[in-house]
Structures are given as structure tokens and as C-alpha cells.
């Protein structure tokens, strides 16, 4: 059997691919079942009964709301910084060739390529050396650093597809640099920036390794979850929070996919 486009896939391949995809998705689906379980002291399977009461319990928990608010705040600020820095960097790298260009793309990717714990501990030791107290901004400092790469990846891919002759045409027709940016460049890269921004938001919203080093006593939602994971106290509330997090992070990813589906790789190089 040849593996060309017209012949059907071998059965073994179909089974292996399907099994792999099930392996990826079943554990996440399981969380949806656990969010409704009546059991609150253990992770018993099958659940003895189903209830929706935990949603109300979770809703009335101030600590969950506080953690959520801090996470959203940090993710929003980090995303804004990452969009500005990532776009500038992508524009510079894609429109000109200059000495050290490769080094710059490496520098942007480095915070993601090196294990998060390294970013975390270096920031923490830098904060303690410079005696900076922990605050929302110390978290943002870490998050924005590794969010730049996501925006950068998306913007670079789009800049490559945007032809330079459009910019030249705009300038020839008398628009100045700012007008060209506003009327020609921005509409072209807009969706890529939006997609990159949403992925950056999802990345920051979910980040825990760097955050444990830069948050001090503050709790973002992932830190709240981590504490529940290490010392489970409120299993049902954790189940509900986990389910909501799955649903909330799925939305930006689906949106980012629809915004960039014609040709771009949406951060194909991973987080």
C-alpha cells in the first residue's frame, strides 16, 4: 500500500492516531465529569452521584475571585506590553537585514526555550539583589518577557506574507510613514496581532512556574490551583475552577485559529 493521497490509511495507523488523540483529550474531559460529582473527600470513580451545587459554592468564594482578578490583570498588562515589543521586533527583523539579526530572534525565543524555572529564579534573585518588593508589576515583568515571543512569531509570519511593495506604493502615493502604518501595515497585520495577543493572554493566564518565583504572597489563579494540588482542601471547588479554566482558555485558542487559519502557523513553535 502506498502512502499517497488517494489510497486509504493503513488500519494500524488509524488506530494509533486515534488512540493518541484519545490519550490527549480523555483526561481533560474527565474534569468535566468530576465538576459535578457529589463526592467531596476523595477522587472516587465512578462518582457516587451528580450535583450542580459546587458551582454556587465556587461562585461565592472571594479567594477564587481575587485570584481570578489578579490573573486577568496581569495577563492584560503583559499582553499589551508583549504586543508592542513583539510587533516592533518583528517589524525590524522582517524588513531589514542587519548585523545581529539572528541573535535578536534567538534572544526573543530564549525565555521560552530555556526552562521556565531559570527565568523564574533569575528574576527572583535579581529582585532580591535590587531589593524590589513583590507586586503585580514583578509578575508582569516576568510574564511580558516570555509573552513577547508569541506575538513576535505571529507577526513575523504575517510580515513575511505582506509584500514590501505595498508599503512603497503607499509612500509613493504621498502617505507619510505614520499614515502608511495606520492605513496599510496595521490592517494587514491586525488579525495576526490579535491572534498573537490572545495566545499571549492565554499563556500568561496559565503560567505558574515563573509566577511562583515572582509573586511573593500574591495568588494568581494558577497559584491558587497549585496550592490546592499540593494540599487538597476544597476538592469540589478545585474541580469547578479547573473546568472553567479549560472552557475559558479554549475560547481564545479557537478564535486565534479562525483569525490566522489561512496559511499562518499559529505559534507552531509552541509556547
Amino acid at each position: 500500500m502506498r502512502s499517497d493521497r488517494s489510497s486509504p490509511a493503513p488500519l494500524a495507523l488509524k488506530i494509533a492516531a486515534a488512540a493518541g488523540l484519545l490519550f490527549l483529550h480523555l483526561p481533560i474531559l474527565l474534569i468535566f465529569v468530576y465538576a459535578f460529582t457529589t463526592e467531596e473527600k476523595s477522587y472516587q470513580w465512578p462518582p457516587p452521584g451528580f450535583t450542580t451545587q459546587w458551582f454556587a459554592v465556587t461562585w461565592s468564594r472571594p479567594d477564587v475571585w481575587q485570584a481570578l482578578w489578579l490573573s486577568v490583570k496581569v495577563a492584560a498588562i503583559s499582553t499589551a506590553i508583549a504586543i508592542i515589543l513583539g510587533t516592533l521586533c518583528a517589524a525590524a527583523v522582517s524588513r531589514t537585514k542587519f548585523f545581529g539579526r539572528e541573535a535578536i530572534s534567538l534572544l526573543v525565543i530564549l525565555p521560552i526555550a530555556l526552562p521556565g524555572i531559570i527565568t523564574g529564579i533569575s528574576l527572583r534573585s535579581a529582585f532580591s539583589l535590587m531589593e524590589i518588593p513583590f507586586s503585580t508589576w514583578t509578575i508582569v515583568l516576568g510574564h511580558a518577557t516570555f509573552c513577547v515571543v508569541v506575538v513576535y512569531n505571529n507577526a513575523v509570519a504575517r510580515f513575511r506574507r505582506t509584500s514590501g511593495s505595498m508599503i512603497e506604493a503607499s509612500m509613493d502615493l504621498g502617505a507619510d510613514g505614520f499614515q502608511t502604518f495606520r492605513y496599510v501595515v496595521l490592517p494587514n497585520i491586525g488579525t495576526a496581532l490579535l491572534a498573537g495577543g490572545m495566545l499571549a493572554f492565554a499563556l500568561s493566564f496559565d503560567e505558574v512556574i515563573v509566577t511562583t518565583f515572582t509573586a511573593g504572597q500574591q495568588q494568581t489563579l494558577p497559584i491558587w490551583m497549585l496550592e490546592e494540588l499540593v494540599r487538597p482542601r476544597q476538592r469540589p471547588v478545585t474541580n469547578v475552577v479547573a473546568m472553567v479554566v479549560v472552557l475559558v482558555t479554549a475560547l481564545p485558542i479557537l478564535l486565534a485559529y479562525y483569525l490566522t487559519r489561512d496559511g499562518d502557523q499559529v505559534a507552531g513553535a509552541g509556547k
Partner: protein, 323 residues
């Protein structure tokens, strides 16, 4: 300034446009004439940020790895010394490094084996809607919350959880018990065994392997496999001699992620696993309660050096073109 105002409507035909008015126009002219300064202007903010915030702290950390800690007072001695690096060679610390690297290698290998069929099917058979579904089917787990994924496995591997229930239903509990009785990989239950750590690592990093492999496979031209079979190769031979070598850079690219992410993770082995430490946990423990920042810093240099060599090897195999 509106677009019309900038157009020299009444101007006679001329190749050279007049100077633009206003500060914005003048600035725009200057930047157009000096592409270098525009480049500098664009590069300065991201470079300053990454240079100061990121590289600055990295160097601060590196610097501290050459300090040492006074064993009696617990104070950090700011004298240049290699003593801290010497401590890495203690059997207990070497053990941690070796355990982490072995785990990273095994996780990488397993991810490659599981990822390949998915990537292969997605790249060469899935079409239209199926292709989009495959893509989202890989992207959604990749981007869904890391902690939620670990939490899901805590539910699955718990003693009262679904996996034990499944083994009981299939009357295979003896098999699980026999596996858990083994040294090194076993433990009291799956959630406190090295096997459990391994499964969760593979699960969490798997999508990072699928995407580059799929990208590499998609670039293999169909004509090559057709030529191979026209020339008399069996499907197996075509796979071994044509498809696999061309997919290898993709696998190496994916392995960069699975390897590096496993090396630096400290949350998964802390939540699901034995009490034996991994590099990440050692770093966390030394910088936290122990306050031994120099040793923690020296420990973080280990994955950096390993990844340095790894990336160098990967570049030689052409992995970066597959990213």
C-alpha cells in the same frame, strides 16, 4: 493629518514630492531617509526590555553561582569560587542530575513514538474538515492549562481513581501490582511512582512533539514516495529510507521542547511522583527554605549547558529549519 492633505494635488508633475509639513511629516521624512535610525528606534524597546530584564537577571544568576554559602552562618560569601560547582559533583546531586536527564530522554522517546502516527495521519491523510479537526485536536491540549492537565492526572492516578477502577474491572490488578512492586519505577501507588511522573510528563509535552513532526512530514513531496514505490520499494522500505529520514529534523525539533521542558519542570514530580528530587525541585528547594542561592544557581546552569549541547547537535541535524 488626513491622507488628502498630504497629497500635493495642485503640484505640477514632478518626480520629487515636496517636503511634508508638520512635525509628524518631518519626522516621517527623517526616518524614511535614515532607515538605520528607524531600525534602531524599533529595536530599542524590545532589546532594552529583554536585555535588561531577562539577560540582566540571567547574568546576575550566573554570577551568584560563583559565590558560596558559609556553612555555619548561612550567609552568602561574595568571593569568586568554584566550590559551589564542586558540590554539584557530590553523589546525591549527581544522582539528581542523572535522574532528570534519564527521565527527559525517556519522555522524549515516548513522545516521539506516540506523536509520530498522529502527525503522520494529520500530514498525509487528513483532508479538509478532518485536517482542521486534527489541528485543533492538537492545539487545544497544547494550550489548555498546564495545571489543569496535571490535576486531571491526579484524578486519574488516585488510588480510588478511574485507572485503578479500570484495572479492577479488567481483572488486571495483579499486573499493576507487579509493576508497582518493581524497584525504581514502582511505588505505593501510581500517583507516587516514577511511572506516574513519566506518564504525566509524556501527556503534558506530547503536543510539542506532534506539531514539528507534522510540519516536517507535510514538506515531504508526494512525488518522492511515488518515485520510491515506482522504483520497487515496499511501503516499509519507502518509510525507512525516504519518509523517516525526512521527518527526522522534525522529531529532533520536537525533542528540543520535550527534553528542555522536562529538564526544568519541578511541579509535575512534586505533585505526582516519589520523594526523589529532580533538578527543578532541587533548585526550588535550595533557593527557598535553604536560602542557598549559589547552589540553586549552579543547579540551573546544568540544564542550560545540557540544552546548549543539545541545541548545537540539533542545529547540525537541521532541526531549526523544521520549526
Amino acid at each position: 493629518m488626513s491622507l488628502d492633505a498630504a497629497l500635493p494635488a495642485a503640484q505640477p508633475a514632478s518626480a520629487i514630492l515636496p517636503r511634508r509639513g508638520g512635525t509628524a511629516g518631518a519626522l516621517s521624512d527623517v526616518l524614511w531617509r535614515n532607515p538605520r535610525s528607524l531600525l534602531m528606534l524599533m529595536l530599542a524597546p524590545p532589546l532594552l526590555w529583554l536585555g535588561i530584564v531577562y539577560l540582566g537577571s540571567l547574568f546576575a544568576l550566573l554570577l551568584q553561582s560563583f559565590f558560596s554559602i558559609d556553612e555555619f552562618s548561612g550567609m552568602i560569601d561574595r568571593q569568586f569560587t568554584l566550590k559551589t560547582y564542586g558540590e554539584l559533583l557530590l553523589p546525591s546531586n549527581l544522582d539528581i542530575i542523572l535522574r532528570t536527564v534519564t527521565m527527559a530522554a525517556l519522555v522524549t522517546l515516548a513522545s516521539a513514538v506516540i506523536a509520530f502516527p498522529i502527525a503522520y495521519y494529520a500530514a498525509r491523510y487528513a483532508r479538509g474538515t478532518w485536517k482542521a479537526l486534527f489541528y485543533l485536536g492538537i492545539m487545544l491540549p497544547l494550550w489548555s492549562s498546564y495545571l489543569v492537565k496535571v490535576y486531571a492526572w491526579k484524578l486519574i492516578l488516585a488510588k480510588e481513581g478511574i485507572l485503578n477502577w479500570l484495572f479492577t474491572k479488567l481483572h488486571l490488578t495483579w499486573l499493576l501490582d507487579a509493576w508497582l512492586a518493581l524497584p525504581t519505577v514502582g511505588g505505593n501507588s501510581l500517583s507516587v511512582s516514577a511511572t506516574g511522573t513519566f506518564i504525566v510528563f509524556v501527556y503534558v509535552w506530547l503536543p510539542f512533539m506532534i506539531l514539528p513532526v507534522q510540519a516536517a512530514l507535510e514538506r515531504v513531496p508526494v512525488s518522492l514516495t511515488e518515485a520510491s514505490s515506482d522504483l520497487g520499494a515496499s511501503p516499509g522500505q519507502t518509510f525507512r529510507n525516504v519518509i523517516f529520514p525526512l521527518a527526522l529534523p522534525g522529531i529532533v525539533a520536537g525533542s528540543i521542547f520535550t527534553f528542555s521542558l522536562t529538564l526544568g519542570d519541578y511541579i509535575i514530580p512534586q505533585i505526582i511522583g516519589t520523594s526523589r528530587l529532580f533538578i527543578g525541585q532541587a533548585v526550588y528547594a535550595h533557593q527557598g527554605t535553604a536560602g542557598n542561592i549559589p547552589l540553586a544557581a549552579a543547579f540551573t546552569v546544568v540544564p542550560v549547558v545540557i540544552m546548549g549541547f543539545y541545541l548545537w547537535g540539533a542545529k547540525r541535524l537541521g532541526a531549526f529549519d523544521a520549526l
